[in-house]
Every structure is written in C-alpha cells, then in structure tokens.
Symmetry: C2
C-alpha cells in the first residue's frame, strides 16, 4: 500500500502510522561487490581453523616496493594539510614520467591524480554521461563498473565476449548495433580484468572507428598495462593517432606496484573539456591522501625494474594455474595473455552456489579455496553462472595447491549435487 509520496506503510497502530523512509533506487539497486560478497563466510571458515587459499580478489601477496615504505617513514612535515585537488605537481610529474617510460606523452595539464583507479572510473562516467545515458562495455568486465554505473545512474550496455575464442572483442558491426541516441562512450579494459585478454591493434582500431563514426569517447582502463606474457605487445589507446583525441585513460598504481592500499590512480586525457569537468569534481572531494601521494612518487617515476620482476613472477603463476586447471576434468579455460586473472568454465550449474559450498561445506585435508563466481562480472542477468574468476595472487606453489583443492572440491560437489 503506497501513500502519495511513494512510501510504504509497515504497520498501522491506533492512530499512528509507522512509515519506512525510502532510500534511493540507486541505493537499493547498486550491487554488493561480488568479489567481496562472501568475505563474511571467509571469516567464519577461518574461525573453524580451515586454511583458505584466497584467489578471489586481485590483492597481490607481493611485498610493496621498499621505496614507498621508506618514503612513508621519511615524512617530516608538521601539518597534514590539503594538497592541490588534481594532485601535487610532484605527483603529476611522476605520472608524466611514468607514461613517458611506456611510450606515452602527456602534458602535466592533461593528467589528473585520483584516489585510486576507482575514482578515475567514477569521474570518467560522470564527465561523459548524464543520468540515463549509456556506455558500451564488453562482458565479462570489472565489477566496479556496474557499481559506479548504478551510483551515477547511467546504463552499461553490454556486448558479450566468449570464452571459446578467448574473449575477443566483437566485430565493428556488432558494436554499432548497440549504439543508441544515448550512447556516449565505449569502455575497454586492456589488458582485461577478468579475462586476461590483451587486445590486438585491429581490435582497438575497430573500437576507434566506431567511436569516431558515432562521436563517442573511449574510456580505456589500462591498469594492467605491463602484465603481458609470451611476447605479447600491449597497445595503449594513446598509441593510436585517431584514438588519442577522444580517449580518457584510466590508470592506477595498485597492481603494477603491489600497492592497492595507497589509493593513487589517474585520469588522463587530451580532451580539455574532460579535464575541466574532472578538475571540478576533484575540487568537490578536496584532495588526495597526503602521505601516499608523496610516498608513491619515487617508484612511479622509476619503477620499471620492480614491475619487470613481478611480471616474471606473475607469468610463472599464470603458467602454473593454467597447467593445473587443465588436469581437472570438465574445466575449460584458455591461457590468458595478460593481467593476472582467468575465467574458467566449470562443470557446475551455479558457480555462486559452488563458491559458497567451498566455504561452508567443504574442506580437503583442512584446507579450502575461495574464488569469485563470474556472474557478477556480467551486466546481463544469467550470464557467467558456470564460470569463476581466479586471481594469481599467491605463489606458484600455493596456487598449485589451491587448484588441486578446487579439483577435489568439484569432484565432491558433483556428488553432493547428484544426491539432492
């Protein structure tokens, strides 16, 4: 029963009506993070003394660079004050140097430092879309895009990509079919989270062609830029003369410098109107955290050695995971060429149920494993129900063990399901 202002009555006492205050639709509909959703179960299973191999979340186990830790400790200021909203010149210069080291040239005025790559995503969505407007995405995609789309009240229009061909981008004509009067941008994540796909020159050119034809922005999340294996070459959107003018590059220090907790990212664009809009957004939230902003500078300016070392390590992990998964009957996956994830198809009907079961009803020699059910990486309901995402965030030997346990889990789960 609804009253005039759309509120529900929960009960009628004598003459008093108790009325629920209504939170917003976006407050109600924003999804919980599918990656973080089962953390309460994780806590419970740990309390039961079971060891959990956590390969659900992209939180590297690798030690952060000592340069950051030392710079934190060396802070001598007496005042923890506001800093310029778009980042200190020191930080923006460091980003400029970083980009130069990977062959991309930006002016400092084209760089905005953000509180993590997350904020870059939020700002980009808000700068290019009004409520109800649309961004084309390729699913499966990074779950945070879903959350922010809901929060800023825009629509992600998904195009499927398929495990069977390595989650390659669709043909131009298929992308164009999704364009409406409300489409404002195409969003790509390259190398891709969660699929590990590294896009070819052709794939990126196709996106650029469509964007030019329909005058769209291209939001390019390149957080995993250096994470490419097997002599793959990574092409940034900024490598393409025709892509550059309409590109909004989103990036983060989190993965390449194993520093997820410092919350430093950036939004970079040659489009002056985008930079102007995002500058205003940064002023709303005043400034970045002062300590991390300063501490990240040395490694950001000069981090190639550190990054190279950890890429080699991630490659070994990728090899291990893929090799071990291939041993499990019924599991299908392709070898990812980038990032540090893969999507595996399992012989289950509901991977969310399987994920929960692994945490609540299963253990193998006192151990279990936590993965991410892939349905949360899709905008289209019902997709990814038989898929999981695995993150290579443990050592190769632990990953080997984790995948073995996964295999045991699948065996027992199949039996448990067939008994129902």
């Amino acid at each position: 029963m609804e009253n005039l202002s759309g509120l529900k009555y929960i009960c009628m006492k004598k003459k008093t009506k108790k009325i629920l205050k209504k939170i917003s639709n976006r407050g109600r509909e924003t999804p919980f993070s599918p990656i973080r959703k089962f953390v309460p179960l994780l806590e419970k299973v740990k309390k039961r003394g079971i060891k959990v191999y956590e390969i659900h979340i992209g939180q590297p186990d690798i030690a952060s660079p000592v340069q950051i830790l030392e710079k934190i400790k060396s802070f001598k200021g007496k005042k923890l004050a506001y800093t310029p909203s778009t980042g200190t010149s020191e930080l923006k210069l460091a980003w400029k140097k970083y980009f130069k080291s990977v062959g991309i040239n930006f002016d400092v005025s084209e760089i905005i430092a953000t509180i993590g790559g997350s904020e870059a995503i939020f700002f980009a969505f808000t700068a290019v879309c009004d409520p109800g407007e649309e961004i084309i995405v390729f699913e499966p995609f990074y779950t945070t895009y879903n959350s922010y789309a809901s929060m800023v009240a825009i629509k992600l229009v998904p195009l499927r990509t398929f495990a069977k061909n390595g989650f390659r981008l669709p043909k131009k004509e298929d992308i164009e079919r999704k364009i409406t009067r409300k489409t404002r941008a195409i969003l790509i994540c390259n190398p891709n989270n969660p699929t590990g796909t590294v896009y070819t020159k052709k794939e990126i050119k196709n996106v650029i062609d469509v964007a030019r034809k329909h005058n769209l922005f291209i939001l390019s999340d390149e957080t995993y830029r250096e994470f490419v294996y097997d002599n793959q070459k990574h092409y940034s959107i900024m490598d393409f003369k025709l892509g550059r003018p309409r590109a909004v590059l989103l990036d983060s220090v989190s993965k390449r410098f194993s520093a997820c907790g410092v919350r430093i990212g950036c939004l970079v664009s040659k489009d002056k109107e985008v930079i102007k809009a995002v500058t205003k957004f940064t002023q709303a939230r005043l400034s970045l955290p002062v300590i991390e902003q300063r501490a990240i500078v040395p490694i950001l300016e000069n981090g190639r050695k550190y990054t190279k070392r950890i890429i080699d390590e991630y490659k070994k992990r990728r090899d291990t995971v893929f090799k071990e998964l291939k041993k499990i009957p019924g599991v299908r996956c392709r070898e990812p060429k980038g990032a540090f994830y893969l999507i595996a198809k399992l012989p289950v009907k509901d991977s969310e149920d399987f994920t929960k079961w692994l945490l609540t009803k299963f253990s193998f020699k006192g151990e279990t494993v936590m993965v991410s059910p892939a349905s949360g990486f899709y905008a289209t309901k019902g997709m990814g129900k038989d898929e999981i995402r695995i993150a290579f965030v443990l050592s190769s030997s632990k990953l080997k063990r984790a995948i073995k346990i996964l295999g045991k889990g699948l065996q027992q789960y199949e039996k448990a399901i067939s008994r129902k």
Copy 2:
C-alpha cells in the same frame, strides 16, 4: 546548429565535419570551487613578492597532532594492501569511542568510515536521492554541497538565512513551503560553515518535526562539533530521540584534529537501509588510504585534550577578527558562536570583483589578503554578492594584520570604483 544526436558542429571543411564530443551536462555545470577558484591568482601575486594573508580556505595553520605523525612513521607493514571497504574494525571502533566521548552512542555496525567528510556527503546524497530528487538546504552553505549535488544530479532547494538575525534557521512553515513530492531530505551543517551559527534545541526540533511529518531524512554535517564558544552548547541531531531514526550523521577528522590531508571521515546512521546502501558504495571504491586510516586511530580515540586546546586558540582568533572588523566603516557582521568562519557584509557591489582586485591590483606595504567571495556559498544566483567568508586559520596577530589590510583595501577599492 545541432545534429540528430545533439552534438554541435564547429566547422564544415570540404566534405569533413569536425564535431565536438559532448561532455555531460553535469560535467559542464558542476561549479569550480569558489574557495579554490582564485588559487591561480594567488600563485601569481606571491611570485610578485607580495605577502598574502590567506584567510579564504578552511585549512588550519595549526600543527597536526604528533600522535598522527608518529603513527605514520611507525608503520611496519611490508604490504600496502586493500583494507575492509567500510574501514578497519580498529578505525570504526575509534569512531565509536570518539562519539561516546561526546555523548553519542553508536554500534560499530552503524558506522562507515569514509575518505574525508567529502565522501560522506557524496554517499549520503546518493543513498537518499535519485537523479532529479531534492534536498532542502539553508543558504549560505558549504560549497561542496553544490558540487556533489551537480555530480549526482540532484537538486538542492535553498532556503535563505539572514545575516541580520545571525543566520538562524527559518520557521517550520517556511521550511515546509519548500517541500515537494521530490524532497527526500533536509541538510543541516551545525555548527555552520560558512556562517558560524550554532543551532538551538528549538531550531533542530523544528527540522525534526518537518522531517517526521514529511518522512524525510536529516543529513547532519557536524564536522565542527567542538567549535563552540561563549558557553554555547552544541546539540547533535543524535541528541534527539525523534531525530535519531532518520538521521544520517556526516563527520570528519579534518578540522578538530587539524588533519585535513589525511582524508578520514565517517557516515553514521541508525537506519539500516542507509548503511546497507552506503556499504555497497564503499565497495565500489574498494578501501580507504591505508596509512592515514591506521595513523588517525590514537588521536580519534583520545583527542579531547588536543581539541580543547585548539578550540581555545580559535576562540581568541574569533574574538580578534570580530573586534578588528568592527573598526572598518561599512563592514557589518555578527559574532559567530561556532565553527571558525564568519560571513561579513562589505560596502561593495561585487565581492568577487573585490577579491580579485585584492590579489591583482592592491597591496599595502607589500602585503595583501585573500578571502572567499560568498556568492559561491549560495544556490540562489545573485545572493551573497556583497559578502565574503573569512576563515580564522592564522594566528590572532596575523589575523589582526589581515583584517587591517582588508580595511585599507576597502578604502582604496572604493576610490578605484568611484573613479571608473
């Protein structure tokens, strides 16, 4: 000239059309921060060797507590990792203890740690309003409310408050007149930025009565809670039994602990739906900055002594500013009872022009002063054109000098204007 998809042509070359990509309306319409707007001019005037007394921005000059600085340096972790999205239990417990010390009882489950009070404002707006919905505010108000309202596409419905009566809140009937089917909340800032007003029990009860009658949330920004002078008593929204169930409390460590750069705030509510929605929002941005989150805990748990000391200092400054302003012919202001700002009416037509003039065309014995024109603190266009906000963020002796320079500036500006 607009084409079918609403884009503008900027020129027609032979057969090629060059088309501007269109950023969002909200990207275009979000205002620049009126407080930060003149910073480029500030940089220029400093380069000319002129000393500037900066009383435009609420950035305390006071040293941050040593407890924070020591805790930063004592970080021994090897990994700068993600932390729980709503804050570590340590931080949330520290907030709980802080609130208890000021007589407010919360359960840890009712507390969400945010990246500054700014993020608390953003989350609150997004949790209670869908695009196009409305929040009643009392102007003049903190400029960031305007920015976030634009970014999240909601409408702030302003009710004027008046210098001549100390910016007291309007009568109940006047507040009710502004309520529409789209109104979802009333927002108060108490003690008030920019006016320094401390609301009475009656004023807050009026807001609660209206909110209950129309089933609205009450967003209460209490960042300046301890900043009350002259034996004023501060009443939190949480002191009112009938206010509590519909309150969303917004707070920050920035001002009471002179730690604006650490970016730690909170959103607290007994409304479980609000907490649920905001929890999901925090998961989108993953986590708080790891170093500051840890470093703020000791002072947050046990900061009364530090806060008491700085309040005494701010009182002296308040006294000085008020006393010196009264000496300047044509300047009108009331003595603020809280926060660390005041709004002064000047004998000028356009305080924004005057502010710029002070930075570009004026100096007195090699010195000038930077203030905030007050028009940016109003939603209603044309308001505040003869007002400025002054922040008590320098020592009393410097403030005395600053106000004297302001007086000289006004004299010369009057002459300059009359010569035009």
